[in-house]
């Protein structure tokens, strides 16, 4: 237990702790690096054309991604209409009506679904919605993304409903409200913010998904009318353009990447800060 040994131990301690700080800051720096690079490379390509024009024929420069933006919007809307009600109402069942056995089965199924790689979800959507109708479509893509929204919505709904204080429930029931009235008028509104946060985060997550769309919505150089045509989406366009040999397409891929990332980050930041003041935010 000499002085020299103690000095060495303290040196090691300070050095290693400094190293952990380096690890932390490097990890965080990556985020800013990504943002910065996208801004730098894609910022200049974001113009009115990008949002309003259709893609030009292969090899020609210019054009935009209006069809992809609209396509993403359509598919995300439909996906929410599919996934959110199932998750939300299923969550109400778990929190308010179910017995222990059924609850564990449903929760287990949801956790399982949550862990399925997105490309496998794409395969599932393909076999259910593309194969029977023999064409790619927007609703196949929406089905795939909707599936992915279910588990997060379900678990969060259950959690936030359960966290509503007993007093609120009992207060309503003491006034003679039936169970479903209590749920609809008191409990859900009380848990509203947490559930909304979770839904927004789920939406942000599926907005960026590419793999499940590759063989459901597939893609389209043109506008798609209705829901049963192959539809272009932002993430798939980014992928297609990025791996192509055309510089102009690369430039557009950067711009699209910036738009997509910007959208995803803004939803995340809003959901995690403003909406969820004081609530524990679910992890992906």
């Amino acid at each position: 237990m000499t002085n020299g040994r103690l000095r060495w131990r303290k040196f090691v301690s300070n050095f290693m702790l400094a190293m952990t700080g380096v690890c932390a800051f490097v990890s965080v720096l990556v985020l800013f690096f990504i943002l910065g690079y996208l801004l730098f490379n894609g910022g200049t390509s974001i113009n009115w054309d990008f949002f309003t024009k259709l893609p030009k024929p292969v090899g020609e420069t210019g054009g935009g991604m209006s069809n992809a933006i609209v396509g993403s919007g359509k598919i995300l809307l439909l996906a929410s209409l599919i996934g959110v009600p199932i998750g939300f109402l299923g969550g109400i069942y778990l929190a308010e009506f179910s017995g222990k056995g059924m609850a564990s089965v449903v929760r287990y199924a949801a956790d399982l679904l949550n862990g399925v790689p997105s490309i496998v979800i794409g395969i599932f959507a393909y076999s259910l919605v593309v194969l029977p109708f023999k064409h790619f479509s927007a609703y196949a893509g929406a089905f795939a993304l909707g599936m992915m929204m279910i588990p997060i919505t379900l678990r969060s709904t259950e959690e936030f409903l359960k966290s509503v204080p007993r007093m609120l429930r009992e207060g309503a029931m003491a006034l003679g409200a039936s169970k479903w009235k209590t749920i609809a008028t008191v409990i859900v509104p009380a848990a509203y913010r947490g559930i909304m946060t979770a839904i927004l985060l789920a939406l942000a997550r599926v907005a960026g998904e590419t793999a499940p769309l590759l063989f459901t919505a597939f893609g389209n150089r043109f506008e798609s009318h209705g829901w049963s045509q192959p539809t272009a989406t932002l993430p798939v366009m980014i992928y297609t353009y990025a791996v192509s040999p055309y510089d102009d397409w690369h430039r557009q891929a950067w711009a699209a990447g910036l738009v997509l990332l910007g959208l995803v980050l803004i939803i995340n930041i809003l959901a995690r800060t403003i909406l969820s003041r004081g609530i524990a935010v679910p992890r992906s």
Binding site: M1, T2, R5, L6, R9, K10
Partner: protein, 275 residues
């Protein structure tokens, strides 16, 4: 009252002793640690006010008082454990063997002033590795097995675990785990052992075992103990300090304090009128 003599640790500089007899007795005893004019703060809030006392060498000193009086806080200043909290601030002087502990390296200090906590907290390692932890990190060159055995014997645990040294510490009962923690603290041969309500999480039988232990241990090392249990303080300690809202109300040899307390508040506390 008493002049504060310089680094010689044998002079009592405590000023709150109230009976001539106790002052004499205390004056004759060497002090392992001395505390002078200690004021302690968590941020803006002051917890300890002008504390001055001594921890007598190879004796057991008890700190008693109602909840929130600052006794644990005071104990934790002695091994600078308060430094794990960001807003903690200390004014005053604490000497160990005549040297200011605030001027020393804290890691070296903590080897010399050990601590046993309120709830047993063995590491997620084997019994052997728990006790060997301290010697190992300090680069002990001798036989670890001997040191471990010695410490476990001192903690009156050896016979119960000698054939199970490589089992996990969590397989022991609560009382055994606490004795393991004592053995672990003893393994680095501390000069002072701080015990922060060491029996409060244990059953009466384990408590009794540990109280017996304390009486033996003071031959080995100086002990300072915080306890909620007055009877325990009366049983095991040589000196007792009674604290109330961050101040020492009375500090005297235990028999005096419990039979003829000088301060009415002390009397009120030990007769159970509050706390």
């Amino acid at each position: 009252m008493q002049a504060s003599a310089k680094p010689e640790f044998s002079v009592n500089i405590v000023t709150n002793l109230t009976t001539p007899a106790s002052r004499e007795t205390a004056a004759a005893l060497p002090m392992r640690m001395t505390i002078s004019k200690l004021n302690f703060f968590y941020g803006p809030k002051q917890i300890l006010f002008d504390i001055s006392m001594g921890i007598a060498d190879k004796k057991v000193t008890a700190l008693i008082g109602p909840s929130g009086c600052g006794k644990s806080t005071l104990l934790r200043t002695l091994n600078r454990m308060y430094e794990t909290v960001g807003t903690a601030r200390l004014e005053g002087e604490i000497l160990l063997d005549g040297q200011d502990i605030l001027a020393q390296d804290v890691t070296a200090l903590r080897r010399r002033v050990g601590m046993v906590f309120q709830r047993p907290n063995p590491f997620p390692k084997s019994i052997f590795d728990n006790v060997a932890y301290g010697p190992r990190i300090n680069g002990y060159k001798g036989s670890l097995a001997d040191t471990v055995e010695k410490s476990l014997r001192h903690a009156a645990l050896w016979d119960e675990v000698k054939d199970h040294l490589h089992k996990s510490a969590y397989e022991l009962s609560g009382g055994q785990q606490q004795r393991l923690c004592i053995a672990r603290a003893l393994a680095v041969e501390p000069e002072v052992l701080l015990m922060d309500e060491p029996c409060s999480a244990l059953d009466p039988i384990s408590t009794a075992k540990i109280e017996e232990l304390m009486v033996e241990l003071k031959n080995l090392t100086t002990i300072a103990i915080v306890t909620h249990n007055m009877q325990q303080a009366a049983r095991v300690s040589d000196f007792t300090a009674f604290l109330l809202t961050g101040q020492i109300i009375e500090f005297s040899p235990t028999p005096h304090l419990f039979t003829t307390p000088s301060d009415p508040r002390t009397e009120a506390y030990i007769t159970g009128r509050f706390g």
